[in-house]
């Protein structure tokens, strides 16, 4: 088993924003990956104006995946919606010291965020 950075352990043990926001007109959702693949994410976000007011995640995956999803929601809440489009896996991988062999899983998370961005940035 890979060793985990303290930040991974912290997010794994006490994930921020775990769950799914109840469906609502101002709530958008997106998912990527599958259980069969070993990694899947579901993201939901409540938007208000240009900003992300709240965000929740569901994750089936390794501790790095859970921690990465948790860290990501924590950092995106309060940001403008465009932050979703600019998001990529690099900062989270760096912050959490995610090993290279887990890059593929981070790309799944990136897919979910990008998908959320597309929905959120759609002209209403």
């Amino acid at each position: 088993m890979a060793r985990y950075s303290p930040l991974v352990i912290d997010h794994f043990d006490r994930p921020r924003n775990s769950g799914r926001l109840p469906a609502a007109p101002d709530v958008i959702e997106a998912s990527a990956g599958s259980v069969a693949q070993g990694t899947s994410f579901h993201l939901s976000a409540r938007l208000s104006g240009e900003s992300i007011m709240a965000m929740q995640f569901e994750a089936y995956g390794c501790p790095h995946c859970i921690a990465a999803a948790s860290w990501t929601t924590e950092h995106l809440v309060g940001s403008p919606i465009e932050a979703l489009a600019r998001w990529d896996w690099r900062p989270v991988a760096q912050a959490l010291e995610i090993p290279a062999e887990k890059r593929g899983r981070m790309l799944i998370l990136q897919d979910a965020v990008k998908c959320l961005a597309e929905i959120g940035l759609q002209p209403p």
Binding site: M1, Y4, F12, S18, V35, A36, Y60, C62, P63, I66
Partner: protein, 386 residues
């Protein structure tokens, strides 16, 4: 965090304090520090006596004569000596070997090496219960089959093969039969005569003895032809050269004697502990015992947790020292080939844990383990799907 609860006895056991005491006597300055091969003096002869006493203890544990026991560095070496030894000695009689997909790596990788050298190996696939039917073995035998290698107790699932039936079959057909019994001693009866086993691998560290010492039973009458792996001083009837590690051998002898003496008691106690553990785990729902329908040793419980990713499961349960498969160098990222051979998908195999109990496991530990499993599996499922 306090020390985790050790439920990985199938990976290795602590040394029983009674065994450790015997080993420590040897390690002390006044202990038997001579070289057991130094027959010309007292120190050597005293060490030799201890070695021979242990040989009797190990032989007794499997219903064999002492002169059939060859000391090795563990079951990995025993497996390699048996398999490479028979193959290289009997290569001109035939080059076909029968084994199974759920053997330990020490058997599988020795066989792979032989395949690279031109041997032909049939790997039988067990049923979902983990059992290789003797009938499958019979069907796989060919005129050029020289060896059948089938383990007694599987290290991941605890499944007990009917090696007696396979032994009978092999004896009838004049094919040598090797059995890896690394996980058997003190858990199930082993009798090389009754089971008609020609070669039997053992190791001390799964039975409360030290790591780094094992033995290979080699039938003597009629002799099994075997080419050594380690050449040199000619110790162990010429089958295994190298200075005999007195303290290690004494530890193995003592451990095996205890394992046999306390087997029934240990087995009963562990069976009920395991049942308690399972009742607790089962409460989280959507869990299955692997190879549930087979006869299994009483201390191993291999459970698939549906809907929970394997690596997270293992890390979430770090207060409980369990393992996902064999303790090998490859790490736990690969899904268990044993569970896959039983029909589990990669995901299911990865979401499985082997809980293995032992002589020092307590009810309190089992209760703590249950609480951890219930809380963490619940939590991870919650994270996965609200």
């Amino acid at each position: 965090m306090s020390s985790p609860i050790y439920l990985d006895y199938a990976a290795t056991t602590p040394v029983d304090p009674r065994v450790a005491d015997r080993m420590i006597e040897c390690l002390r300055p006044e202990g038997a520090h001579g070289n057991p091969s130094s027959a010309s003096h007292e120190f050597g002869r005293r060490a030799r006596e201890l070695v021979e006493k242990a040989r009797v203890q190990v032989a007794n544990a499997i219903g064999a004569k002492p002169a059939t026991i060859v000391w090795t560095s563990g079951a990995t070496e025993s497996d390699n000596l048996a398999i490479q030894g028979v193959a290289r000695f009997h290569a001109d009689r035939g080059r076909h070997i029968v084994s199974s997909k759920t053997e330990h790596k020490a058997v599988l990788d020795a066989l792979k090496q032989l395949e690279r050298e031109g041997f032909d190996v049939t790997y039988l696939r067990p049923g979902v219960d983990g059992i290789v039917q003797p009938e499958q073995v019979r069907e796989a035998l060919r005129p050029d089959t020289i060896l059948v290698s089938l383990m007694h107790v599987n290290n991941e699932t605890g499944v007990i093969q009917d090696v007696g039936a396979v032994g009978r079959l092999c004896r009838e057909r004049g094919v040598l039969f090797h059995c890896d019994a690394a996980q058997s001693i003190g858990k199930v009866p082993v009798d090389v005569e009754a089971m008609q086993i020609d070669l039997l691998s053992m190791t001390a560290h799964k039975a409360y003895g030290p790591k780094g010492v094992g033995a290979l039973y080699v039938r003597r009458t009629p002799p099994v032809g075997l080419r050594p792996i380690l050449f040199g001083g000619g110790q162990e009837f010429g089958l295994r050269s190298g200075t005999l590690p007195t303290h290690q051998i004494v530890g193995m002898g003592a451990a095996f004697e205890l394992a046999i003496a306390e087997k029934d008691e240990d087995v009963d106690r562990l069976r009920s502990l395991r049942e308690r553990l399972w009742q607790g785990i089962a409460k989280v729902g959507d869990v299955e015992i692997n190879a549930e329908s087979a006869d299994r040793v009483s201390n191993i419980l291999n459970v698939t947790f549906h809907g929970v990713e394997g690596e997270s499961l293992q890390f979430a349960l770090r207060a409980v020292a369990v393992s996902a498969g064999a303790a090998c160098s490859s790490g736990s990222d690969e899904a268990s080939y044993v569970l896959r051979a039983l029909g589990r998908t990669d995901q299911q195999a990865q979401s499985s844990l082997r809980f293995s109990l032992g002589r020092f496991s307590t009810t309190a530990e089992v209760e703590t383990a249950i609480a951890e499993v219930q809380r963490e599996v619940g939590r991870l499922r919650q994270i996965a799907s609200g």
